[in-house]
Assembly symmetry: C2
Homo-oligomer: 428 residues x 2
């Protein structure tokens, strides 16, 4: 092997140092502990999926930025290339939802009727790298399959909120809406059903570019002026006053009464439980990107940070497509794991350290007594401490300073196979 | 989206059901807890690496079974294809050692002088699928970089043994050898240095095909009869008697005394600590596959299973190749995570369950009291129990039986918003 010149990770990907992994392990285990208490059970699917599954249209923009796997062996025919697709057979998953649907279809017979799933894993997207965006990143999803009642939505919001609280997030805001209200609104203004998704995409930008911004976007889009003016007028009315279910009922008489009752019920129930810890508010402009949502949708925002740290909703038609059934009730909530990590890092969050971290130093001539040193180490480890055994370097001050940086708080030096008392690092 | 026909995971890959993930999480957290106590700190590298890094020769056979990533955008020129390599820019890592070496070279300035690394992650190999072999599987590695003394070997063997004991593995056997003894043996018999690795590969098969088997292999290989006969004779002598360092000294006078002293020291030290829990034996026929080993090598075998469950050794020249230095001391030990899991599954190993798993059932008409039901659930969760809230199905017996299968042990039914006492499942 020749000298490797490029020591960096690949574009948009990261080497994670011990401190970073420690925080990630802590955060994921706190979240998983909460989800377990709610009866969610964890599944795992492979990182690679059939290229057809990843290109079937459900992934929207994500399908355009797949990492694709070259065919191997006889299947790869370099003399007969029609297009990119003739070269590949698999891809790296871009989310955890599509593989989970395949999993559910594949294993349904073994699964309980109401299946509460937790998933934690890597996804890959060949996006143009930018600050805070990576090409490999982790997602933490929960989903409830087989429950058509709103208790699914409520449990997802409870569990996700409790998970965030367990990480010291406070005063966050759950924004909630229903896709059927959005559709009702857009329909009421006279848009064609085939245009709904395009209109939603523009409404979605409201929080970023404001009402004047979306006016501009609508102007460029070529929709009828009447519809656009009506929509803007209603949105303005809805964001100026604090929206209630009653407001919606009066402005959009075409919305199904059950949709509004369900939304009221979820908001009331969550409010009661949330108390002063967090809040839930109706936000008629909440859209959520994915096309597959069919009912309530929700996002969590935390004080002082613009982007959401969790998002989800009901998608009753997606899994059915894998099984040839019209409807299989499903509802999910995903924590933006990397977003949560970067907020905690910004806040210099410290992983609690219940145990002592001790280093046992021995000088070179002590090697004949190494058995006693190892015995001492074993004893201290059995007591629950983290114990490092190291030869004393020529400059023990530099050595100990570096160990303090790694979180070591105590040390002992060996002489004639006997430890000199365990001392606290940093003290004279 | 049309109906998805293929619901199976891709060839050689697996969907993991809740029970499987639960076992894996338990095993990995036990192992990691032990490694942490020994002062190892966890790092992570990306799944994807530069195709050049993965094809530089250090991976041996693994480089022939890479999953390669198709170039994207402008970089992919379908009109100008010379060979496979012009189509790809990255690959999925086939092990954790090569990416760790790149990591070390990339981050050296921030790392302690003696760096004790733990790594747990997926690797991918496009092998022909067979029983117990998968195309995506997990490895659990520890490595000590920067320690040239045998205390590195000793700590690796202690930590790995303790990790296995924490999973109830007993009476396992650590086999140990030194690559320099193997080289000395082969040199002594008159083989050329360029043939050493080929000879090692044949010796490695001894435990599988026996002495007659390797005689056959040597016959086919075209080495000089004199060398082969001499080698076979020595091996026979060494496996018939129980080999000691003294035997080696008398048979192979050309071996460096320090190599033998170090080996004695490690065997003695580990024996003392192992007590009756496990044993360490010198095995002159132990080879280990990878070409990069330079010193002591070791494997762990457990009673009743032929293949090893852990393996490793010293590789002092590998990391230097990334930094343009001749030697950077390094030593590692890897637990065959999938092998350990499959042994535990065969033994019907049960993950300890300290908490109760309770299901709260409510009938449809109880929905108006759902707030009280959720409050009860929150209270029980706060006490550390796993609590599922579910609507009572039309056939509660079937529902409760299925919940028992999932490990639920208790249930309560709600009436008028009040729980009827929590009962143990399975009792009348």
């Amino acid at each position: 092997m020749s000298l490797i010149k490029d020591r960096n990770p690949q574009k948009g990907m990261r080497d994670l140092l011990p401190k970073q992994v420690e925080l990630r392990n802590y955060v994921s285990s706190r979240i998983l502990d909460v989800y377990k208490k709610y009866g969610f059970s964890q599944i795992e699917t492979p990182s690679l999926e059939n290229i057809e599954l990843l290109s079937n249209g459900e992934g929207g923009e994500n399908e355009k930025i797949l990492f694709k796997i070259l065919k191997r062996g006889e299947k790869l025919d370099l003399n007969n290339i029609n297009d990119e697709n003739s070269l590949v057979d698999m891809g790296l998953r871009y989310d955890l939802t599509v593989p989970m649907c395949r999993f559910y279809a594949n294993n349904r017979a073994q699964l309980p009727q109401v299946f509460k799933i937790a998933q934690f894993g890597d996804v890959w997207r060949a996006e143009r790298p930018q600050k805070g965006r990576f090409r490999q990143f982790k997602q933490f999803d929960i989903d409830i399959i087989g429950d058509k009642s709103t208790s699914a939505e409520i449990e997802l919001i409870f569990a996700t909120s409790e998970a965030l609280m367990s990480l010291d997030f406070k005063n966050f805001k759950v924004r909630i809406n229903d896709r059927r209200i959005l559709s009702g609104l857009v329909k009421y203004c006279g848009f064609k059903e085939s245009d709904y998704n395009k209109v939603f995409v523009i409404i979605d930008k409201l929080s970023k570019i404001g009402i004047e911004g979306i006016k501009e976007e609508f102007k460029k889009s070529g929709f009828s002026d009447d519809s656009v003016n009506m929509l803007i007028e209603i949105i303005q009315k809805l964001i100026e006053t604090s929206v209630t279910i009653k407001t919606i009922e009066s402005i959009l008489p075409n919305i199904d009464k059950n949709v509004l009752d369900d939304l009221s019920f979820v908001i009331e129930t969550v409010s009661k439980q949330a108390g002063r810890n967090y809040s839930i508010v109706l936000d008629i402009t909440l859209v959520r990107g994915m096309g597959y949502y069919t009912g309530q949708i929700f996002e969590i925002e935390t004080e002082g940070y613009k982007t959401s740290i969790a998002g989800g909703g009901r998608y009753d038609s997606l899994i059915g497509k894998f099984l040839g059934e019209a409807t299989i009730p499903a509802c999910g909530f995903s924590i933006g794991f990397e977003r949560v990590i970067s907020i905690l890092e910004e806040q210099c969050f410290n992983v609690p350290k219940p145990k002592r971290k001790i280093v046992l130093l021995y000088s070179e001539e002590e090697i004949s007594n190494i058995n006693e040193i190892f015995l001492t180490a074993q004893k201290l480890r059995a007591e629950g401490n983290i114990v490092l055994v190291e030869e004393k370097s020529k400059n023990p001050k530099v050595q100990l300073d570096k160990l303090m940086e790694q979180g070591f708080d105590s040390f002992a030096v060996f002489s004639n196979g006997k430890e000199i008392e365990v001392k606290t690092l940093g003290q004279k």
